[in-house]
């Protein structure tokens, strides 16, 4: 870091792009809050019904603002955090591409376009998580995230295509309007399962949760961006987007509620167990995703309002806290909860941001987090099936969250200094604390003036879900003494107790967790097993013995052709050989004797020459039946094949074929059967009358339309020129690959 610390144009240009996008999206707040839905579309693949269509309604605008807004602050932050990093330009490119892909994802109104953006976020997040690719851990985490979310995405693709085909359109807005039709459809369940596979892996719901904490290998600003408003929320977003069309069934309710509730509690317990601040935050992200999924399970007015509010609250405080942890790391060189302490004086602005964000996370008044928590309780009490179970889960998760907030944001700043720090703590530069401060202050501002959020984002989003903006519940700090308030009090008391005993609890948890199943290690075992299986099947199938390859190929041909012929009952009805002229008989004898000689002879050169006889015999058949072009090609190819094979075969060493005698009878039987089946099929083909439509067309159109009398060639270069182009491309590729293969095996020691 001795050289210049500026990142130049790569540093500030992405910031302006993101900020510009944020401002651009702000102009839609007014129309959307009046209930408008803006749409724009371009044709993409019209023949398949795929369009690049985008929609701006409450839900997508909320996401777009969070993505571009937090993106701006994160880019500003990274420019200082990674100042002078030799690969900063690459980093900025990845982060900006990721942001754009994410924006495309939340705005897309076409299933296929949505999926393309979905995969773009997968790929760009892979690059971001693996930015520290010099370390084993970084590479492993990136690959794990890619595999888990990529596998889910495959299921999602299948689900989306099925959805599009059953509904007859790929336009989301149309599908969602016909939700009842979809829910009654026989394919509803498979579609739902496939789509949920995609969203659960992306949003790290149990049991796919293990990749998310590992993704913390990324630089801290990346974690802040990916785990607050973007990557992991993509799954939640898709479930929210499909909610109007697919929710309301028992499967939907129970799957989402149980997975969400379980993930929330499970993740908060794991969060308390961590000593690394960033890891602790990662697990609270899991908790938040669980809660959001839980609320998407149902469709009550309180539930949906709680969903939107908590979505915004979480993005604000989580991004803020991640960035704070990055500041701490940057200034002190450590993220260990046990070591850090007494930073409040040295880093006042960071401490200020941390305090505000943590209070919002803990859910204390007058912050937005408190309103969010009240709404969550009101929402969960409305859950139809088992309100008690889900409420208890939510109270537990929130209490644990309270404790984690205190561990992450209170202890490092305000308890007496712990162990020795790698670096003398000092305040981070303004570019780094401004982001967390803005986000944390917003949490307070929205808490005090919830009306700001209510009309602009909450109401339109609830409108997206329930079709009526008026159904949104009011966001307010004081709702009177009611059950949610009592539950809030209970949460705070429980949270305080958990915080006080968290040291002992952490050790106990660590012991229990170490004993229990470890999904991360399970993943390693799974990968190892997969590799072992691949190695085994390669060893088994790829024996390296050419004879076996050929035997297997022809056996497959025999089974496929013969089996089909028998199953379809397509064997020829009569076997007649028509009138054979002496020319036909002579050619037949020539071909058969050539083939026999090839099979019997022991000399390689004889075998090659005999094979050439077969080829020339076939070429002469073409001549007899008036296909000169095919015949010429066949003759030339035969000549060249003999030359090529001669070059190779004649110089191979002579190997004594021991044991070849034992297998020759099998080869002979296989050869006879392949020949028999091929003959039968050709005879059967001859029985069906020739469809002359294509022939007639080419005969009449060849001269007037393509000015050529040689129909074969006219087809090749004019009617079917694109096919020919594809073929010659294959020829070139094959030649180049063969050339490369031959070259790599030749040691370049001789000659010059």
């Amino acid at each position: 870091m001795a050289q210049s610390k500026s990142n130049g144009i790569a540093g500030w240009l992405p910031i302006f792009v993101a900020a510009g996008l944020f401002v651009w999206f702000c102009q839609f707040i007014a129309p959307v809050s009046e209930g408008q839905v803006l749409r724009v579309a371009w044709d993409w693949v019209p023949s398949l019904g795929i369009a690049l269509s985008f929609v701006i309604d409450g839900l997508s605008l909320t996401f777009a603002l969070l993505i571009s807004g937090i993106g701006t602050l994160v880019l500003l932050y990274s420019n200082t955090y990674l100042a002078g990093h030799p690969q900063y330009a690459r980093f900025a490119l990845f982060l900006t591409s990721f942001m754009l892909a994410m924006l495309g994802l939340v705005l897309a109104d076409n299933l296929i376009a949505l999926f393309v953006f979905w995969e773009l976020t997968t790929i760009t997040s892979y690059l971001l998580i693996g930015f520290g690719h010099e370390t084993e851990k970084g590479r492993r985490s990136a690959l794990q995230a890619l595999f888990v979310t990529g596998a889910g995405a495959l299921a999602l693709l299948a689900g989306l295509i099925m959805l599009g085909i059953t509904m007859g359109t790929f336009e989301l807005s149309e599908i969602l309007q016909r939700g009842d039709e979809l829910k009654a459809h026989a394919l509803y369940l498979p579609i739902l399962i496939l789509i949920l596979c995609g969203t659960f892996t992306k949003s790290a719901q149990f049991p796919f949760h293990f990749w998310l904490p590992n993704a913390m290998a990324a630089p801290t600003p990346v974690s802040a961006f990916l785990h607050s408003a973007t990557m992991v929320k993509a799954g939640v977003y898709l479930m929210a987007r499909l909610h109007p069309g697919m929710a309301g069934t028992d499967v939907w309710f129970w799957t989402l509620s149980i997975a969400g509730a379980f993930t929330a509690v499970f993740a908060s317990i794991l969060a308390l167990r961590q000593t690394d601040l960033k890891q602790a935050l990662a697990y609270t992200t899991l908790m938040a995703l669980g809660v959001l999924t839980l609320f998407l399970g149902q469709g009550s007015e309180y539930g949906m309002t709680a969903f939107v509010t908590f979505l915004i609250v979480h993005s604000l405080y989580k991004a803020s806290l991640f960035l704070v942890v990055g500041c701490i790391d940057h200034s002190t060189g450590s993220r260990e909860a046990g070591v850090l302490g007494g930073l409040g004086r040295a880093m006042p602005m960071t401490a200020f941001a941390a305090a505000l964000a943590a209070i919002s996370m803990a859910g204390l008044p007058p912050f937005l987090g408190f309103i969010g928590k009240e709404l969550k309780y009101a929402g969960v009490l409305e859950v139809a099936g088992e309100p008690f179970v889900f409420t208890a889960a939510l109270v537990a998760a929130n209490a644990l969250m309270f404790a984690v907030a205190a561990v992450v944001a209170f202890k490092p700043f305000w308890r007496p200094a712990g162990g020795a720090l790698p670096r003398q703590p000092h305040e981070a530069p303004w570019q780094m604390w401004i982001g967390p401060v803005i986000l944390a202050v917003l949490g307070l501002v929205f808490g005090v003036m919830p009306g700001l959020l209510q009309t602009t984002l909450v109401n339109p989003t609830v409108d997206t879900f329930l079709g009526d903006a008026g159904k949104a519940k009011e966001l307010k700090l004081w709702a009177g003494v009611n059950l949610p308030l009592i539950l809030s009090g209970l949460t705070i008391v429980l949270g305080l107790i958990l915080y006080l005993v968290h040291g002992a609890l952490r050790n106990a948890l660590a012991r229990i967790m170490d004993a229990g199943p470890n999904f991360d290690r399970g993943w390693d075992r799974f990968l190892k097993g997969l590799k072992g299986f691949a190695a085994w099947q390669t060893r088994t199938i790829q024996t390296g013995v050419l004879r076996w390859y050929i035997f297997a190929t022809f056996l497959t041909v025999l089974i496929a052709l013969g089996g089909t012929m028998i199953a379809k009952n397509a064997a020829p009805q009569t076997i007649t050989f028509g009138d054979l002229s002496w020319k036909n008989v002579a050619l037949m004898l020539l071909i058969v004797s050539g083939a026999l000689l090839t099979a019997i002879t022991r000399s390689r050169i004889t075998a090659m020459a005999a094979l050439g006889v077969v080829g020339i015999g076939v070429a002469m058949v073409f001549i007899v039946y008036g296909a000169p072009d095919v015949a010429i090609t066949q003759l030339l190819v035969e000549t060249l094949v003999v030359v090529l094979v001669a070059v190779a075969l004649l110089r191979l060493p002579y190997l004594d074929p021991t044991g070849i005698k034992d297998v020759r009878p099998f080869d002979a039987v296989l050869a006879l059967f392949v020949g028999l089946v091929t003959t039968l099929i050709l005879l059967a083909v001859l029985e069906t009358p020739l469809d002359r439509r294509l022939t007639d067309y080419f005969e009449t159109a060849s001269w007037p339309e393509a000015f050529g009398r040689n129909i074969v060639n006219v087809i090749l270069v004019d009617f079917r020129a694109l096919d020919t182009f594809g073929e010659i491309a294959v020829v070139v590729i094959a030649a180049l690959s063969a050339y490369a293969l031959l070259r790599t095996t030749a040691p370049k020691g001789d000659g010059k």
Partner: protein, 139 residues
């Protein structure tokens, strides 16, 4: 292979084969022939040359890397196809120009179809020669 007779014969034969391959290429639109067949015949000429005089001499006689010929052919074929798009037709639609035509005779036809066929010729010619040369040199 070291045979004076073969070498002496090849000198004329390969030239004749090349000439014949061009003839086959050009007449292909109306008579049996075309780029594929032409390319095959042309490559036989050089394969013969390589067998008789060795690949080093054959490479010298060819002057250009056979890989490059194949790649250039692919490029020419593609350009011939794109050419149609410039005139608003679908890709690979044949574009024709008849020079000196009147009512009955169409005159000398020039077309992108022929250019495309020349591309095919070069691809087949280059690919096969590249392959044979590489094998000869390897073994």
């Amino acid at each position: 292979m070291n045979s004076i007779i073969l070498r002496a014969g090849t000198r004329y034969l390969s030239g004749l084969l090349l000439l014949f391959s061009l003839y086959m290429l050009l007449r292909g639109h109306n008579e049996p022939g075309g780029g594929f067949i032409g390319g095959l015949i042309g490559s036989t000429g050089f394969v013969l040359y390589a067998i008789a005089c060795g690949t080093a001499d054959a490479r010298k006689a060819l002057r250009v890397q056979p890989n490059n010929i194949a790649m250039a052919g692919l490029g020419i074929a593609l350009l011939a196809g794109i050419f149609a798009a410039l005139f608003g037709d679908a890709l690979f639609t044949g574009q024709w120009l008849f020079i000196g035509g009147d009512k009955d005779e169409k005159g000398l036809p020039l077309s992108t179809v022929l250019v495309f066929d020349i591309g095919v010729y070069m691809v087949v010619f280059g690919s096969i020669i590249a392959l044979v040369f590489a094998m000869e040199e390897e073994i």
